[in-house]
């Protein structure tokens, strides 16, 4: 940790006529990294991890931004009102807001967040443990086999349909990280627990260290 505590701030950004929230850790005008969080329950389960990655990056002089997607977090809408296109638009609008303050961000997306990150302006992309929409939808349906439909979430049919058809889009430059247990190819494999799978995930200092170090390096490589 740096000697000065990283500043935490909230900003409102406009997306499709709605006002949504961005959380920021680090200076507003510092080289920006925009995080796109996982979806549904995985978002909650990785919140502590993402915040601890953001704090580490802020201590190295980056400004880290994390949007609340429409219908989640502090958003004034209900999840049932949000569509898949709203979510994609939220990421694009958040990126435009950050660009105005600090120049084009590096976009760092995690799990299902990778399905939303390609319409936004960025100087580069970084993806951790990408999941495709069909696999995420299947997880939610399977949660229902244990008696709790969609693990208690009630998204609109339009959002469910958008999710089911979503795959990662090609973007460039892109760096992809996966867990050791994931058999698909990646630029770097990390030996760490799948915190988004756990009901009481907490965070992992080792994983946060590894992700922050890799992000800092890649962000500098994409300084253009």
């Amino acid at each position: 940790m740096s000697k000065t505590a990283a500043s935490l701030a909230f900003a409102r950004f406009e997306s499709g006529g709605r006002q949504e929230w961005l959380m920021r850790i680090g200076a507003e005008d510092a080289p920006a990294i925009l995080l796109v969080p996982p979806l549904f329950e995985e978002m909650n389960r990785t919140r502590a991890l993402l915040a601890s990655v953001m704090r580490r990056l802020a201590a190295q002089g980056f400004g880290c931004w994390l949007p609340d997607l429409s219908g989640t977090g502090e958003s004034e809408r209900g999840l049932g009102e949000a569509s898949w296109d709203d979510w994609r638009h939220d990421v694009t609008a958040a990126s435009a807001y950050v660009t105005e303050k600090a120049g084009k961000p590096l976009i760092a997306s995690v799990r299902g967040g990778v399905l939303l990150d390609d319409g936004a302006g960025a100087r580069g992309w970084w993806r951790f443990a990408p999941a495709d929409g069909l696999a995420l939808q299947r997880d939610m349906v399977r949660a229902g086999l244990a008696g709790v439909e969609w693990a208690g979430y009630a998204p609109s049919d339009a959002l469910k349909a958008g999710l089911a058809g979503a795959t990662q889009a090609e973007v460039t430059p892109l760096r992809t990280l996966r867990l050791e247990t994931d058999t698909q190819p990646a630029d770097l494999k990390i030996d760490a627990p799948a915190l988004w799978r756990r009901s009481e995930p907490g965070t992992s200092d080792a994983l946060a260290d590894a992700l922050a170090a890799d992000l800092a390096k890649w962000s500098r490589a994409c300084a253009g």
Partner: protein, 92 residues
């Protein structure tokens, strides 16, 4: 897809590793699980999202495909039941 584990011991090792990873349980505790150790309904960590995670991780690591109709509380009730299910899927 990973090379599918080809014997019963390897499947048991994989199942214990998945339980550690998905449920966030202590390795030593899971190493002590016996056939009759109760799982679903007995462990607070084993919630509905954990069921989804467990099935998906087993599919990925054992190279199997689990149909929704094969999933019920009985096949996850004990460590032994889950191990039998995994072995049957992976070895036949």
């Amino acid at each position: 897809m990973a090379a599918a584990p080809n014997d019963g011991i390897e499947i048991e090792t994989t199942l214990r590793a998945v339980l550690v990873d998905v449920l966030g349980l202590d390795k030593a505790r899971v190493a002590g699980f016996r056939e009759e150790t109760p799982l679903f309904g007995a462990l607070p960590e084993f919630d509905s999202m954990a069921v989804a995670g467990l099935l998906t991780e087993l599919e990925d690591r054992l190279g199997i495909l689990i149909e929704d109709h094969e999933v019920d509380a009985d096949m996850m009730e004990t460590f032994g039941a889950l191990l039998t299910f995994a072995r049957t899927k992976a070895l036949t």
